[in-house]
């Protein structure tokens, strides 16, 4: 109220200068607008705060993870003034990922070593029959090995980005390590394309044989291929192989998509998207490496006769009987009519003939 009174006084002095005849009229009109008209004049005596409407840094960071503004340069990502999330990504990359990677990958190797010590190599219980049957033709093996070689290269060069500075750098020194890491980076970037081709071929060739069926439940119930006395029933692929197939498809898609976000930076995403892409890429890749280590173990050391399927493409008949009985039945059923037509029925199932 005192403010208004002061304003009134000021107004009166001002009005006194205006002609006396006009005074009553002007005064009455001005009085009506007094509260609003008087306010700005009285504020002149107070301290002005030019920061009154400035939004504080902390407030902006509470509203959004990044502070963005306008810039005068064409580089759009430069408009992000601040992104404290970089420190969180640093924590992920240097602490979480190091521990996760070490535990998952070394843990898998330890488990596989234990499996080997406890179960040993699972041999063909009835020995080799000497007769062979084609399991994977040349094109299937090409697709598998294209993916496999790409995967190993991608895995090693990828692990180098995360673990190289801890493992390799102290051994070979900074200059040699940088030269290696630079080449490894390009290998990683370009081998990704052959991995994509390989994965697409694998999926196209094998998806129909990897659809889950009822027999897969029986296979799991009977302990899969790991209990020597039993031969769990399976078609062309058993439930374990199907799991690897679907995992490879899902994880492969995740690393491919996230990887291409990283390979073509900032086209479809901002800084947060790049960080998320890297997190997805790294976490999925670590799990992928662990699963594939298991896959390699089973396909080489773990099961006698398994590697031949991807090596020469032909497996022993007894191996097929023990591990893929339903598939073997189908294959033999397919062969019989052909054999009846062209050749005497006594002829042994030619090992190489169906491959060609």
């Amino acid at each position: 109220m005192s403010r208004n009174a002061g304003g009134m006084k000021l107004l009166m002095t001002l009005l006194a200068r205006v002609g006396h005849g006009l005074a009553p009229f002007v005064l009455s009109t001005m009085l009506a607008a007094l509260p609003s008209a008087a306010a700005p004049q009285t504020n002149q005596n107070q301290v002005v705060d030019p920061d009154a409407s400035v939004v504080k840094e902390q407030t902006l960071l509470q509203q959004a993870p990044r502070i963005e503004g306008r810039i005068d340069i064409p580089d759009k990502k430069a408009s992000v003034l601040m992104q404290p999330a970089g420190r969180e990504w640093d924590y992920f990359h240097e602490v979480i990922l190091h521990w996760l990677g070490a535990i998952v990958i070394l843990g898998t190797i330890v488990l596989l070593a234990l499996a080997y010590l406890v179960m040993g190599r699972i041999r063909m219980s009835s020995g080799r029959s000497g007769r062979k049957i084609v399991r994977f033709n040349g094109f299937e093996r090409f697709s598998h090995w294209l993916t496999a070689v790409s995967f190993v290269l991608l895995g090693l060069t990828g692990l180098n980005i995360t673990f190289g500075k801890l493992v390799l750098l102290p051994v070979i020194g900074p200059e040699a390590f940088s030269a290696f890491a630079q080449s490894a980076k390009y290998v990683h970037n370009f081998v990704s394309f052959s991995f994509v081709v390989g994965l697409v071929l694998i999926v196209a060739l094998w998806i129909k044989d990897n659809i889950p069926r009822k027999v897969d439940i029986d296979w799991v119930k009977q302990g899969g291929g790991f209990i020597k006395s039993k031969h769990a029933p399976a078609g062309r692929f058993n439930a374990g192989e199907k799991l690897v197939f679907w995992f490879a498809l899902g994880a492969g898609a995740a690393v491919i998509v996230s990887g291409y976000f990283l390979l073509f930076p900032f086209y479809l995403t901002n800084i947060a998207g790049m960080q998320i892409a890297q997190v997805v890429h790294a976490v999925v890749a670590v799990l992928f490496v662990a699963v594939i280590l298991g896959h390699i173990y089973v396909g080489t050391l773990g099961i006698e006769g398994a590697f031949e399927a991807m090596g020469t493409g032909e497996v022993d008949l007894n191996w097929a009987k023990e591990h893929h009985d339903l598939w073997l039945e189908d294959e033999l059923a397919k062969e019989r009519p052909a054999a009846l037509q062209g050749q005497p029925p006594t002829a042994p199932a030619a090992p190489a003939a169906p491959a060609e």
Partner: protein, 200 residues
Amino acid sequence: MARMKFLCDADRCIDCNACVTACKNENEVAWGINRRRVVTINDGKPGERSVSMACMHCNEPPCAAVCPVSCIFPTEEGVVLHSKDLCIGCGYCFYACPFGAPQYPRIGNFGSRGKMDKCTFCAGGGGEEQTGSIEEYKKYGANRLAQGKLPLCAEMCSTKSLLAGDGDIIAQIYKERVLKRGYGSGAWGWMTAYREEASA
């Protein structure tokens, strides 16, 4: 030993971009590389503020931590330098940097970014080159610190908005300013970079 820092008094920055120009000229940086930039917050609205930003030479620099070849390191004065001989251009330092400081000569499709470039606090490079040599200048820009001078961006800021130097001293200057004029929107980025505020 002094702990070198930058401080941008946003209440004084007039978005003239002279710091950007000074940096480009003093360090002869390649076209497309912006070691320093000015970002305007709330452009055209009441309370608009401009902040000049470059590498803040953080405590525990995240760029150095994530570098896969460990080519980034803080000096005794807290200036974060790197070796372009060792850099493999992976781009990780940019993902980790809270201030968007690392720059690359190329966009980076297929990992072709080239060697990272960033503000060196006008302190030359972190490579093998001799301090103050022409080789160092060509690769990293000026080494004013070795000559007893501070970064040119701050030295020639017309409103003395951008301050560079011993962190304690520039924080003190800023605090005195804020006390004297009675307001201050804070030292932008200090909490993220140095885990401390610089306000009265």
